[in-house]
């Protein structure tokens, strides 16, 4: 056990080892941008395995043991009347497993009935209330706004919403006034999609900047590992990787 503890302390729990592993796996995943290669596959599968393993251990320790195993044990050792509610819901949850049976799958419907009833009873009033709050916020006296900018803002919102909705009105052909309104609606939608695209790009770049910060902060490890990975990729694609030979069937 001491040997195992020493090995773990000097590798997995060692700060330098953690930094090098962090840089190595970042570069392995980024190598995909050059071309699909075994390093990327190794990194991807390692990530999958570790995240699943970590998730399952956390799930067992934090959810299953305190909320399932321990209450069952306590109910068995010292049964109390309130344990009946726990047993009822435990059995109800177990009916989900009947989905694996072809003949008895209908048993799970009782549990689903509770789930859908809860969702309908809770979600619908809350969502409708939120919609009414948004809707009532739109009903403001237009010309009593503090500045011209505020007034023009509401004109843009109302006009933009109306024209965008007109684009989706298909009961009449898009000709004449309706056609022109629909064209403006397309423009409004394009501006909206462009803004969403810009925000998405900004978000994704920000996530990459986090990785770039790790690479830049630990530049010694980054330089060494970039060189090693480049050599590996060169050797792999030069001597080991063979392009798939497409036969006649696959070509057409």
């Amino acid at each position: 056990m001491d040997i195992i503890n020493t090995v773990i302390d000097s590798t997995i729990l060692n700060h330098t080892f953690q930094i090098w592993m962090s840089v190595l796996f970042t570069l392995m995943m980024l190598s995909f941008l050059f071309r699909d290669n075994p390093l990327y596959k190794l990194g991807e599968n390692t990530f999958l395995g570790i995240s699943l393993g970590y998730g399952w251990v956390q799930l067992w320790n934090i959810t299953v043991v305190p909320f399932l195993v321990r209450p069952i044990k306590d109910a068995y050792l010292d049964f109390q009347p309130y344990d009946l509610t726990f047993i009822f819901w435990l059995l109800m949850g177990c009916t989900m497993f009947f989905r694996f049976s072809r003949n008895k799958a209908w048993v799970a419907n009782y549990y689903f009935a509770f789930v859908f009833a809860y969702a309908a009873g809770y979600e619908i009033p809350v969502l409708v209330q939120a919609l009414f709050i948004q809707g009532s916020n739109m009903m403001k006296p237009l010309f009593e706004q503090p500045s011209f900018f505020e007034i023009s803002k509401w004109f843009v919102i109302i006009f933009g919403t109306f024209t965008a909705l007109m684009y989706f009105f298909f009961s009449k052909p898009h000709k004449g006034l309706l056609g022109k309104t629909a064209k403006i609606g397309i423009l409004i939608l394009m501006i909206n999609f462009g803004a969403s695209f810009g925000a998405t790009v900004m978000g994704r770049i920000a996530l990459f900047i986090g990785r770039a910060q790790v690479l830049a902060t630990n530049y010694e490890a980054s330089i060494v590992l970039v060189i090693l990975i480049s050599i590996f990729l060169f050797v792999y694609f030069k001597f080991f990787h063979k392009e798939a030979q497409l036969d006649d069937e696959m070509m057409h």
Binding site: L30, L33, F34, S51, Y54, G55, Q58, L59, I62, T63, F67, Y122, V126, L127, Q129, A130, I133, Q134, N137, A195, S196, A199, T200, V201, M202, G203, R204, I205, A206, L207, F208, I209, G210, R211, A212, Q213, L215, A216, T217
Partner: protein, 280 residues
């Protein structure tokens, strides 16, 4: 011009990847050249002024709803909010709605406690990890409005005076998904004060809630984190420990400029070809 257009059309996308990569990396090495200055948005200012207005002993509830995939944008925000709360001697309750966020949150707090300024903060007195419970946010809010302490099953001096969620002065939810909307939908019913820290991807979806007052303050992506850091530096926090997001702002600007360049080139090629096709 035709040769240039042909070359650009055939440009291997890996050159674009390389340019974006360099535009993100280089500003970290030449920080003086890329000293970015930016204004503070009123949404970030709102979060800052709310927390700054708290008294000693007030409580803030942090919903730590992201895993390591989103830590680049959201972790600096949480770090700054927690440090600001510690400076104001405000109690911090940290709840983890996802299993994968627990380790990240605990590592963050242990890193904060390593700083000399916050080394005296105690778990259970100044802050507490409420852990994870396998229920949805709505159930959690309903339950904490009956009994805050027994919902989470924790003990500590920190719970003194906190009987229900109504005793929490401000709830801050940090998330990269529509998870934060669960708090927003219940805000009008329970009347709590709610702020959010979100990624840039979903940020625009939360702006309508600012206007209705359902959301009182919003930190928007890496820029929001950088703005908060700048505000804290303005009011006395030292630069060394408080500029993770600021360091990334120059990279963000450079990478966006590179993207503008390529979008411009793409549009130029499109309109050039259209013009030449119509001529022929």
């Amino acid at each position: 011009m035709e040769k240039l257009v042909k070359v650009l059309k055939k440009l291997d996308r890996r050159w674009i990847f390389l340019l974006i990569f360099l535009s993100c990396i280089i500003p970290f090495f030449i920080t003086d050249l890329f000293d970015s200055d930016f204004s503070i948005s009123k949404e970030t200012m709102r979060v800052y002024s709310i927390i700054d207005g708290f008294n000693e002993g007030d409580a803030v509830f942090i919903d730590f709803a992201f895993d390591p995939t989103l830590q680049a944008e959201l972790l600096p925000m949480v770090e700054q909010v927690v440090k600001h709360c510690f400076d104001k001697k405000v109690r911090v309750f940290i709840y983890y709605p996802y299993l994968t966020s627990i380790g990240l949150g605990q590592n963050l707090l242990s890193d904060i406690l390593k700083e000399e300024r916050y080394s005296r903060m105690e778990n259970g007195v100044d802050f507490i990890h409420l852990g994870y419970i396998p229920i949805d946010v709505d159930m959690m809010v309903f339950s904490t409005y009956s009994d805050f302490k027994s919902t989470f099953g924790n003990e500590g001096k920190i719970f003194k005076g906190i009987k229900t969620m109504a005793d929490i002065k401000y709830i801050m939810t940090f998330s990269g998904s529509d998870h934060s909307e669960s708090y927003i939908l219940l805000q009008r019913r329970f009347g709590y004060r709610l702020g959010a820290g979100v990624t840039a991807v979903i940020g625009p979806d939360f702006v309508p809630y600012l206007q209705t007052g359902q959301l009182d303050g919003l930190l928007f992506g890496l820029r929001g984190a950088a703005e908060y850091e700048k505000l804290r530096q303005k009011h006395g926090a030292d630069k060394i420990h408080n500029q993770k997001a600021n360091l990334g702002m120059a990279s963000l600007s450079m990478s966006h400029l590179v993207m503008f360049l390529f979008i411009g080139l793409g549009n130029f090629i499109y309109f050039y070809e259209r013009k030449h096709k119509s001529k022929t």
